[in-house]
Symmetry: C2
Subunit: 347 residues, 2 copies
């Protein structure tokens, strides 16, 4: 077993504190990655505080992982020692169900082994995430990272990047389309960059007027303060696609009504309470409300390659691991532009 | 002007009573249809009682109209005197917006002129529906009715038929697919017939165990009493498409969770209160919640031709107009299998 250092929470109300645990020895298909950077995703906080229920403790969060390959199993062909590698939200899945075969392992019919707060495919071994010195992952669930981008800024692509890229691609966002992005946070700022890079005309909806300059810098052509309903009413029946990245309570009908016929609102934020949806908002223009969860391994690699070619990365604030609890509070207050990334060398 | 007899409600709490009014004289593109049968749609009741707000009185309901052409304007080419003809939920639309050009007049960006409780394209003239002796309609908004089917049973196709046919077609329901139909009423019974005719394996979800035999006779292969959550849990992740035809309050998440990845729940019923939708129900399988409203004129004709070829019609109970108020009460009690149709000769 491989002795590993990390930070963990031990119960829903605890802070994250230093934690020692063991990773499995490398099997023939495994890769040992020395973790260099790990992003802080809002879902880390939800899970560390058991806000979605079912959290398992001790919990080492983190699923926006980039590092360097330190060792490989005897059968590994995908990566070589010394290369950069990434791990996203999954470290395994059943590999035989229809979704796994379709390269959509996140929708695995058995259960994906989430990178942390999850269970390995043996049905019993807990998973520990990227707030740690190293990780052992089957090569099929690793990503290749191009060396041309600043590595700290790449880390959030592993979750925030793919979570927004996947629905933009699945719903064929492209030139000539009007795309709305609701909420300019970790997910939202990636959605703006990616949708703009795909040629869409992007409008950002935010409760915070102070983000307008950023929104435009990131690629938005328009910015709307969403707190005033009049601002929204003026845009009715206008949008082809709206990505809703807000997990705070909000009125999704207001955005459904901005869609033209056959338009789509895709939820990537996870509000704790049910959305209130007026059936007529859907029926009168055959509108769609859908949701999308991260992306499969193949598509995540596609997204990383896409971003490497276009020099797209996340806007980050790099912190030492000792500031992780403070970073959680600042994330909850929206006080980060736009993603905290932990420098794991500080561990 | 053409003196016309009908039945109207004069306020949200009144019963329907005999009413005399005038139709416009025929313009060059108009058709005068002597009405033979008119179906009673649940939405007639919602609107007569102003349950959706904005109802205009006096109101002559009815948008499942079949009859015989009595006279045609000088430029009419689509229909001849003596032929059968139908009118559905619309009598006009702007004709120039994208939806109208796409043959989806029901989503007209200006406003469709609904057949009753609506406004003509002049923006002021109220429309009166099919609980009446005759109607004047622009030929472009009339439907041709094949003579080989029992006419009373054809009437409900003009709303219940197209409202279910359109989403089944739009979402490509076909052989090998598992389709659910929620609610076996006027819409639901047509959905079962149509989905089965398209080759789908149909399951009916109903609160009433007593409808099982009917469901199977109509073409369903399975029947589930929806009141017991255990019955639904057993069917999780199974369905490609579910048509939800229930306008009473109900838990739509229960049906979303029955969808496989990328499955679709389409609302055609209009619950008065917002649907409570768990974002995770959508996100975890990239499921879609959508809605669909009737269908365009072209597609309505396609549906009528499809039904004529396959001898598909509605199961109806024909009543004299003098029983319309009683029929409303029975409809609200679910006491009709499956559509009341008024014999307008009784007027």
């Amino acid at each position: 077993m491989l002795s590993t250092r990390g930070y963990a929470s031990t119960n829903p109300t605890s802070t994250l504190e230093p934690f020692h645990f063991e990773r499995r020895d490398l099997g023939p298909h495994d890769v040992l990655i020395e973790i260099l950077y790990c992003g802080i995703c809002h879902s880390d906080i939800h899970q560390a505080r058991d806000e979605w229920g079912g959290s398992m403790f001790p919990m080492v969060p983190g699923h926006e992982i980039v590092g360097r390959v330190a060792r490989v199993g005897s059968a590994v062909t995908r990566l070589n020692v010394g290369e950069l590698a990434g791990v996203g939200t999954m470290v395994d899945s059943c590999r035989v169900c229809e979704s796994c075969k379709d390269g959509l392992e996140q929708y695995c019919a058995k259960h994906p082994s989430w990178t942390y707060n999850g269970i390995e495919q043996d049905g019993k071994t807990p998973t520990y995430g990227g707030y740690s010195s190293q990780i052992v992952v089957d090569e099929q669930y690793t990503l290749k990272i191009a060396p041309n981008l600043p590595l700290a800024n790449v880390a959030p692509l592993l979750c925030a990047g793919i979570t927004t890229y996947s629905p933009l691609r699945h719903f064929n966002v492209g030139p000539g389309q009007r795309v709305g992005v609701v909420g300019l946070g970790g997910l939202g700022h990636m959605a703006v960059k990616l949708a703009a890079s795909m040629g869409a005309e992007v409008t950002v909806f935010s409760t915070s007027k102070t983000k307008e300059q950023d929104a435009r810098r990131l690629g938005a052509q328009d910015f709307v303060v969403s707190l005033d309903p009049k601002n929204l009413d003026a845009l009715a029946n206008r949008f082809d696609f709206i990505l809703d990245a807000v997990s705070a309570p909000h009125d999704v009908n207001a955005y459904l009504n901005l869609l033209r016929r056959d338009g789509v609102v895709a939820m990537v934020g996870v509000p704790a309470k049910p959305l209130q949806v007026q059936a007529l908002s859907l029926i009168l223009k055959r509108r769609t409300l859908t949701g999308s969860g991260v992306g499969g391994i193949r598509e995540t690699q596609e997204m990383l390659d896409y971003c490497a070619e276009r020099h797209i990365t996340s806007d980050v604030e790099v912190i030492p691991i000792q500031q992780v609890n403070e970073a959680y509070e600042r994330t909850l207050n929206g006080d980060v532009r736009y993603r905290f990334v932990i420098d794991m060398n500080t561990l």
